[in-house]
Amino acid sequence: MHVRCMNLIKSRISMPPPVQIHGKCHCGNIAINLEWPAGAQEIPARACTCSFCVKHGGVWTSNPNARLAVTIRDPALVSHYAFGTRTATFHICSRCGAVPIVTSEIANHLYAVVNVNVFENIDASSLRRSSADFEGEAVESRLARRQRNWIADVRIRSESD
């Protein structure tokens, strides 16, 4: 076997497994399991400066290679809010009021970011905090950025399904 192939296989074998990040709103109605890709050690945590996120203290993360599974106990107790370009939907637990995820449907595909404030098993030191200002960004650029950076493997199911 070629040396480079051997090295590639070795690096794959030694690569740590994906990190399973668990989180939920306070009452547990909206639970998330975020499979963070192996090798991506730091978790970006972007404090968005938009009018909604400032008021909600929203701090978001995503990785295009992550996988997100959202489990909703009672879908009737989830409300949705959109504003501005109305291209992003905030999922708010209407029992406790936490906002664990934001989704954006682009060309019939669902993308998401997750609020790091709902994480339960991640040490704060592994979060790479920054602020993010997308004010004035054109809609097309905004959607293209989400397609590049947001989580592209998103499954949302309710426990009654």
């Binding site: 008021k55 909600h56 203290g57 404030n117």
Partner: protein, 118 residues
Amino acid sequence: MLTATCHCGAIKVEVPRKPRRLTSCNCSICRRYGTLWAYYKASEVRVVASGKTQSYAWGDKSLRFVRCATCGCISHWEAIDRTAVNRTGVNARNFDPAAISTARVRRFDGASTWKFLD
């Protein structure tokens, strides 16, 4: 007077003065809400709601966290027994950011020791 307004504008909270100190708490509810608390006497705070509000209480249920039912912004917490506690926490995230830019933010360890971390 200073007014805190939720994102959709349905809930307004009026307070008599700018806060000099804000509290960032890491307890299970405050960290999820991402709130910054400014404390006032309950009798000094006026809540004006033109839309529906919702509230959430947990644990010993001595407080309830009030929010706008439309945009979900947490407006304030209030004592459930108002005769016992004349104190309200107003979510300073809903103030004009310029109004709180000089306020000192203290980090409160509500998750564990119940003391300030700084």
